[in-house]
């Protein structure tokens, strides 16, 4: 098991370097040097500009800049944000946490609803609950997530039940910890729902498909013939095998979540990595853009790694395949 994890980690590192290369190339093809903006701003003294020139080695050839960038990244020196006027590393952390909160909430919501629904639909194949769920899933699958967010915000504005965006109200610092958690949870409902509706529909269909396939297998017939109670047949034998392929989806789901979360964050004013990215792009704050992208890529790698480990734990065949 440990050997497998090590293998995956070793593969991940060149991938990470490659992704950093892509972000670096993107930064370089952006017209204009960020230092030009600095030079025009009277706030920055000549010495500061000199210092940044040296730090990013902008006078040296490209490959040296790349190596310098990697070195800087490892050191935690991720560049300077001109829009927020602080080093990038300081602002990314908090936003990253917020995005993670939203992504995880949406993730749990998706899986806790889609899996039971998929099982239920599979068990009542072609009866009306299944047909309703199938039709509904087509609809929810195709609804653009930003549209769902807009509709939910509209509904919230009409009824006043849920807050209209942001992550917490003005009172936040004075609340107790429990109340703070509740406050964030209330603000999470609309963005998380908008984010998860589509994945819920997709996952439910996959779950149903897998479940139907497994239920058609011979060993299920055997289990029933043995006289096992139906509950045991379904939940102990069928479910475990049906869920197996879904675990591979975990990692990709996570990265997809990050992507989808960005747009929802912007619409619902959720202070996360996505809305940070948008502000950075709008203000051409290049280092912020790159750092956000790198963070996104790192999270993707981590998500994939966790998914691979989870899969290896559940399915012992994977562990020995790599040898």
């Amino acid at each position: 098991m440990g050997r497998y994890v090590l293998q995956r980690l070793l593969v991940a590192i060149p991938m990470l370097l490659g992704m950093i290369l892509i972000t670096f190339i993107l930064m370089r093809i952006t017209p204009g040097n960020y230092l030009d903006t600095m030079k025009m701003d009277p706030q920055f003294s000549a010495e500061t500009i000199e210092r940044y020139q040296k730090l990013y080695q902008l006078d040296k050839p490209l490959w040296r800049q790349y190596l310098q960038w990697i070195f800087n990244v490892c050191r935690g020196e991720w560049g300077y944000s001109f829009h927020y006027n602080i080093p990038v590393a300081k602002i990314i952390g908090g936003r990253l946490l917020n995005t993670l909160i939203l992504s995880l909430a949406s993730f749990f919501l998706t899986w806790c609803v889609a899996i039971p629904l998929g099982i239920w639909a599979a068990l009542r194949r072609d009866q009306w609950p299944d047909k309703v769920i199938q039709f509904g899933s087509y609809i929810f699958l195709s609804l653009p997530s930003f549209f769902v967010a807009m509709v939910l915000l509209f509904w919230a504005s009409q009824t006043g039940i849920l807050p209209l965006g942001g992550m917490y109200g003005p009172n936040f610092d004075r609340l107790s910890l429990g109340q703070q958690v509740l406050e964030v949870a209330r603000h999470l409902v609309i963005p998380a729902t908008a984010l998860s509706l589509g994945s819920m529909a997709a996952l439910q269909r996959i779950m149903r498909g897998n479940m139907l396939e497994v239920l058609g297998q011979k060993y299920i017939l055997t289990a029933r013939a043995k006289g096992l109670p139906e509950g045991r047949v379904i939940y102990t034998h069928a479910l475990r095998n049906a869920v197996n392929p879904l675990i591979t989806l975990l990692g990709y789901e996570f990265s997809g979540l990050l992507s989808g979360a960005a747009l929802i964050e912007i619409i619902c004013s959720w202070p996360g990595l996505g809305s940070l990215m948008l502000t950075a792009v709008r203000s051409k704050d290049i280092y912020l853009v790159m750092a956000s992208m790198m963070m996104g890529g790192i999270l993707f790698l981590v998500g994939n790694l966790l998914a691979d480990i989870a899969l290896a734990k559940v399915d012992p065949r994977i562990r020995y395949e790599g040898r």
Partner: protein, 369 residues
């Protein structure tokens, strides 16, 4: 011979037969055909140009078209509208019954170009000035929502098709090469694909958009968006194609072609890739919505197609205000059209996949594969 007059149907033809039985999918095909047709004929079908403004009619509600007069069915007509304020100083549009404006057909209106080439100014229907016929209401500047929906459809729908065509071509070539050669080439190409797929799509979209210079005209931005979307999308398709090619290259006819001395490129293009078509088609169908949504998302946050050009996402950026949705709910029409388009592609793609799956098809007789 006994079986000479039996028709040997290809896998694709078998799938098409099955497809015809799914009524809902057929309906979606018709729906999409209608949408694309209306996009092609946008200039003719739309009563106004996408940029024809009328500031007096800001957020005007949909015109009430009357079909009856004095108890008799007549030619449809509308009344002029007048802007007044009610006791809360809210805008109210009142019908001005002093003048009737009949709805005329094949009227002369704003000039446009048929398919971008032939100038014309005949529109399917319209009313005389100064009345404005707003079948679906007006936006902030008094532009007709229906007209902008039609012109917006041109942009949004075409980006989906063109983007996917480019991605698909690149994906086919890369996937075919990777699958056919295997080994080192395969490794390198797949790592490249994974690296591109690794960065979250939306982030990459935004970053690439940031790289586009501000000085680009709208047309150039349009092309840039297509290029960006294609760049993000080809990697996924390439992986699928590569998987299929890896197994396809073991087939006998490939060995035969090789031993005949056919060049590698020809083998890939003429012998292997055509067999991936049936699978690729539904993969393409299922990825077109991604492009449409990607362009809409970009335009929604102001980084895509800019004013005055219309695109469905563009029109929705106006709808991001809750107050506006409350007083002018018709600005949400683009979202409904996006939903309908995406759903149609999803239904068609999923049905195609179910039809292509031999297990679900339930047909026992086939030409031996």
């Amino acid at each position: 011979m006994l079986f000479d007059d039996e028709k040997h149907l290809s896998e694709f033809q078998l799938a098409m037969r099955q497809f015809r039985r799914h009524r809902f999918a057929l309906f979606c095909v018709v729906l999409l055909a209608g949408l694309y047709l209306s996009a092609l004929l946008a200039g003719f079908l739309a009563p106004y140009s996408y940029k024809s403004e009328a500031r007096d009619y800001s957020y005007a509600p949909p015109s009430r078209v009357h079909f009856w007069e004095h108890g008799y069915l007549t030619r449809p007509y509308i009344y002029g509208t007048r802007l007044t304020f009610n006791e809360y100083y809210q805008r109210i549009y009142k019908e001005d019954r002093s003048q009737k404006y009949p709805v005329k057909f094949f009227v002369k209106g704003d000039p446009y170009k048929i398919l971008g080439v032939w100038p014309s100014s005949t529109h399917l229907f319209g009313v005389d000035a100064p009345a404005r016929l707003y079948l679906l209401g007006a936006d902030a500047r008094g532009r007709d929502v229906l007209s902008r929906l039609l012109y917006g459809g041109q942009v949004s729908l075409s980006i989906g098709l063109i983007g996917v065509a480019i991605s698909f071509s690149i994906g086919l070539l890369v996937g075919g090469a990777a699958g056919f050669y295997g080994g080192r080439v395969d490794n390198v190409l797949m790592r490249l694909c994974e690296m591109i797929m690794m960065v979250p799509g939306f982030y990459l979209l935004l970053a690439l958009r940031a790289a586009v210079p501000d000085s680009f005209t709208s047309v150039q931005v349009y092309v840039a968006i297509i290029v960006i979307l294609s760049f993000i999308g080809w990697a996924g398709l390439a992986r699928i194609i590569r998987g299929m090619c890896l197994s396809l290259r073991e087939r006998d006819y490939v060995l035969a072609a090789r031993s005949l001395g056919v060049s590698d490129a020809r083998i890939i293009l003429r012998h292997i890739l055509p067999h991936t078509m049936s699978y690729s088609i539904f993969a393409v169908m299922l990825s077109i919505p991604g492009y449409i949504l990607g362009e809409s998302a970009l335009s929604l946050i102001g980084l895509g197609i800019q004013d005055p050009y219309a695109s469905w996402g563009n029109m929705l950026s106006e709808a991001m205000s809750i107050v506006r949705i409350h007083f002018a709910p018709w600005i949400l029409w683009p979202a409904f059209l996006i939903f309908v388009t995406v759903m149609s592609f999803n239904v068609i793609g999923n049905t195609l996949r179910d039809c292509l799956d031999p297990m679900l098809r339930g047909e026992a007789t086939r030409d031996a594969a």
